[in-house]
Symmetry: C2
Subunit: 294 residues, 2 copies
């Protein structure tokens, strides 16, 4: 019996078939010009090191939740997360971390009650349209490397809950969370949370360090025993790390011709494995390419 891979590799694709090779999304990323990429500011990279040696790197989104993001920077710089853990793992939903029920005070500069940064004005944003219908909003697309939903009529735009999205845990409204307790999506994008909670970024490396953790057995995926909590060794901004140690990333420019091609192929997979291209794509299935720089 042959090996039955779900996908053949890009290399294999090029060897099979007489016609011209049809590109996969990965092919487009591999062949992209450097002009299609934008460096991520090290002030926008939050580096979470787990005590087990794993590293999770998060790109922050100050254009969408400026006060929550400023809080997160102040929490990192003020060593607020010393002693923090991952204390919740709910399957097909989120991993959540922070100090949980601690009474620890905030470092200077943290806004204790930020406004509800759940949407921002659409005005001034240059949107690359998804080109497929979105069940959650009148419009969907990409702005400056981020997946967004929007309403031209109501005039708002918002970041969306996709795999790897990072948001701010909060209590019931009017609480909006501070940024001290964060979660990352590890399952099918729970888009019902859009516009109900502050999204502050996305995991750009190491999501598997969260998604492969044991699931919590208490209600909502909380770990039952503190012994199960996953210790966090430290959370720092890349900009506060010594230059040689800093991880550096770049994101594909979503206004580029390369991204337009990538988006078209995501919606119309016609490489050799596929026999019926979909002709459409879900916003969360168009992961904007992010890669290590240099």
């Amino acid at each position: 019996m042959r090996l039955l891979p779900l996908f053949v590799t890009a290399a294999a694709t090029l060897l099979i078939g007489a016609g011209p090779a049809k590109l996969t999304p990965n092919d487009i990323v591999a062949k992209s010009p450097s002009s299609a990429w934008q460096a991520i500011d090290p002030d926008d990279l939050l580096v979470m090191d787990l005590a087990n040696g794993g590293r999770v790197v998060i790109q922050l989104a100050p254009a969408f939740a400026p006060v929550h993001v400023a809080n997160i920077r102040a929490l990192a710089r003020g060593s607020y997360w010393n002693g923090a853990t991952i204390y919740r793992l709910q399957d097909n939903y989120v991993a959540q971390w922070g100090l949980n029920d601690s009474d620890k005070g905030f470092p200077a500069g943290v806004v204790a009650k930020p406004s509800a940064e759940y949407t921002r004005p659409l005005k001034g944003l240059a949107i690359t349209r998804l080109g497929s219908p979105d069940p959650y909003a009148p419009g969907a697309g990409f702005v400056d490397g981020w997946p967004v939903a929007y309403s031209p009529k109501a005039g708002w735009a918002d970041l969306t809950h996709c795999y790897g999205t990072v948001g701010v845990g909060r209590d019931l409204s009017p609480d909006t969370g501070t940024g001290g307790e964060l979660y990352a999506v590890i399952g099918h994008g729970p888009r019902q949370l859009d516009r109900n909670i502050a999204i502050v970024g996305r995991v750009v490396e190491g999501i598997d360090r969260l998604s492969s953790l044991p699931r919590g057995t208490e209600a909502l995926g909380f770990y039952k025993d503190k012994a199960q909590y996953v210790p966090i060794a430290g959370i720092r901004l890349a900009s506060d790390m010594p230059a040689p140690d800093r991880p550096a990333f770049e994101v594909m420019n979503t206004a580029s011709a390369t991204f337009a091609k990538y988006l078209r192929v995501r919606a119309n997979r016609n490489d050799d494995f596929y026999i019926r291209p979909a002709g459409g794509v879900d916003l969360c299935n168009v992961q904007v390419p992010v890669r290590r720089k240099g």
Copy 2:
């Protein structure tokens, strides 16, 4: 600082606020009449026991891929999967298992080259409509407990790749796979695979036993060393297990009034955590309720 759960529990919801409690999807399941449920035939339950003690239970979908499902039953009854392992874990995509590159022959009754059971005729299916746009197909909804996409014009319907969906690994077309190599979705629904591969069921219990496994580091998430393969102790049909040991499940009738209410609330979360109901929902975010019976 308060605990900041991402969600309050249903019980807490009932205690907060002066107005009538607004129901969560879980509340609707909890209050549902037994008439809203249908037992799953034990011939349609595939029980995979891992050597580490974990159990994964899969509901088969013979109405959509009858030959592939018949193959899977014959493979289970013929002990084909003795020595099988989980050999691939690709983050945000699939867990895959079987005998990988073995040359083992098939038991009697296995069709070596099934036809491409990627769609079925729409005719005769009673569809409960999703009521939200679908990026991948002209229509989306539910048939007999299953999420489906469909085209009234072209006359097809198909099962969809959502979290927990189980499909058949295959090589390049015209290969359609036999059922010997199976995968389960452990990330955002890769709907681009719809109509390109045979879907044979969904995990109804124990998906966390797959989703929490370490990710493979080779291309496409294959484990690098055979020592990393996760051994499978056995794969049986529930109908072949001694009656006292058989797990029994029931699925919500997707033609019931209870499911209609559940669907409405999934698209319009207005329990106390939510401040802005979405007014729409993605097919894969309407997990059809399945529960242990008795």
